[in-house]
Amino acid sequence: MTPPISTPSINWLAISPEIALAAAGVVMVMLRSVLRRRPITMPLCVVVAISGVVAAGAVEYRLWQVVDHHRAISTVAGMVRVDLFGIFLGVVVLGATLMTLLLSVAYLRREGLDAPEYLALVLLSAAGMLAMTTANDLIVVFLALEVLSIPLYVLAAFDRRRLSSQEAGIKYFVLGAFSSAIFLYGVALTYGATGTTSLTGIASFLAHNTLLDQGTLLAGIAFLLVGLGFKVAAVPFHMWTPDVYQGAPTPITAFMSAATKAAGFAALLRVFGVAFPLYRADWRPAVFALAVLSLVVGSVAAVVQTDVKRMLAYSSIAHAGYILIGFQTATSRGREAALLYLFVYSFMTVGAFAVLTVATRRGDDRHSLDDYRGLALERPIVGGLLIFFVLAQAGIPFTGGFIAKLEVFSAAAQAHQYVLLVIGVLAAVVTAYFYLRIAYTVLTPGEETSSAKPLETPRRVDVWSGLVLVACAALVLVVGVVPGVFVHWARDATFLL
């Protein structure tokens, strides 16, 4: 007779955000199959999707209060670890998800893509991202990576009438699967070296044992860094980014650039901060190289682009470089800067892509710089918001972008990383050039040539997309004007253990 299995105790509150999103996703698929293509299906699914995200957000709020007063919650056999760090990035992910959903409502109708599966996949992907932010085990990190990536492969290819969307899906799939395999190899090697996949377990093993032969562990760490580097689009693992960002439906591009990056950095900061703090001296030079390359390639390559979506893709690579600076310092000050940067960056980039979504006409394929010529003159509010968002990304004072860059630079200075600091500032100058180029183009009147241009441009921005634009702009502005409270939150969230 074998003893009965005693299942681990579960703190249901701690895993409720993931459950809420996954449940909402499944409910939508069920609604779709029961109601079929009735006119009510899509609005109902939108309601379900938004209530799922709002419910998850409410739970995160409650968790923040609970964790704030107690220690981190460790549950489900230690696989989940809910701390302020995870909750902070979870909120960033949920914010980006909510914006994406609101933005997608009018977009899907305009493009004739009305399908509840789209919303379900966004929610399931977000559920994977939330699992990533609270993962305390390399196996959970890997599975969460897959849960967040596979819906994105499908979503990138969702607009199958456009060849570029199909191309984006295939490219993202092949490179994403490749990077997942590399990550998994890193997990296996780390397990081989330490005998556990638990992040806290690895940390305590390394604290109490000295490895005679470090090759296996160092190779494992390197593979983990490469695998996650793909997800956050750090150079030299960025090759997929411009093509995928360009080809994917624009709301999905917003989602990928904001939420995926937040989840990827959640994993990077947590895996390296919790499991390998003792190997700092080994991984910091590698991260240094990634940060420098991301800053240089991201900012220089963006200058020569003529497509606005590609420009923003390269700018997101450069932003990843700034966040990597915060990561590279390996101090809690650096983590705070990285967290704040991720928060601000998410809303800046979602805002920018939201403008692209509402500014283009049906087809979602006219994003070259020339197509945006004179946008601010024809549609002052939309064009003005685009200028605001690109200037915020450039780091103009009184916007969140300025505060975020300032935090990163001061963290680098405090850690005596002056080389990174100088390269970061130089990259900021270069990126400012192409952000200003976008702003300038939007302000110059375009020559009235063929009938091709405005024609179908919707004059009115629908209420949900308008809400997204206003909310993003307001947040970026508020962080810029009264940064204190946000810096405070980010500081609270830096403690990993």
């Binding site: 074998t2 299995i5 005693s6 299942t7 681990p8 895993i15 996954a22 996703g25 499944v26 698929v29 489900v76 056999a77 696989m79 989940v80 493009e111 004739g112 893509l113 009305d114 399908a115 599966e117 789209y118 379900a120 996949l121 399931l124 559920a127 994977g128 699992a131 085990d137 196996i139 959970v140 599975l143 969460a144 897959e146 849960v147 596979i150 819906p151 492969y153 499908v154 290819a157 969702f158 199958r160 009438r161 199909q166 899906g169 049906r362 087809g363």
Partner: protein, 186 residues
Amino acid sequence: MTVVLFFIFGALTIGGALGVVLARNPVHSALFLVLTLVSVAVLFLLQDAQLVAAVQIIVYAGAIVVLFLFVIMLLGVDQTEPFAEPLRFQRPVALALGAILLAEVLLLAGHRWATGAKTARGVGITGGAFGSNIQRVARVLFTTFLWPFEITAVLLVIAVIGAVVLARRSAQTPDSESESAPRSGS
């Protein structure tokens, strides 16, 4: 008894593998592959690895071979492939590599240092009572690895939804095609 079974199914495994390579008809190759995989499953059973045996039959002999057959049927079996070798040195290199692999396996099977386990010539590794390894897997699956297990369930749901979304004909939105030149639906 065990030894007799081992030799019978060992021979079937090798015979099936030869059949996969030598059969002219790709469908026959796929069926020979089933034979090999099922025989390997029996060999697993002889090693007291019931779970691996079941997984071997369900996943490999079941799902994967059916997938192979689907592909073969969809591509059509009646066209005879020209048997010209695209790479000229493929055959000798393959033979050499195969010989090296065989030597390696023979060498490792007799030594303990390679795997740390008992040698194939020594006593087999047995897991105690019948079904113990299934129980052991079940135990960790519902205790230590409960959360990954549940996440995997979500992953499977996603795979189904994603496959349906991508495979469905885009003809479901006929009005959207009228805008411009006809595009070939995928």
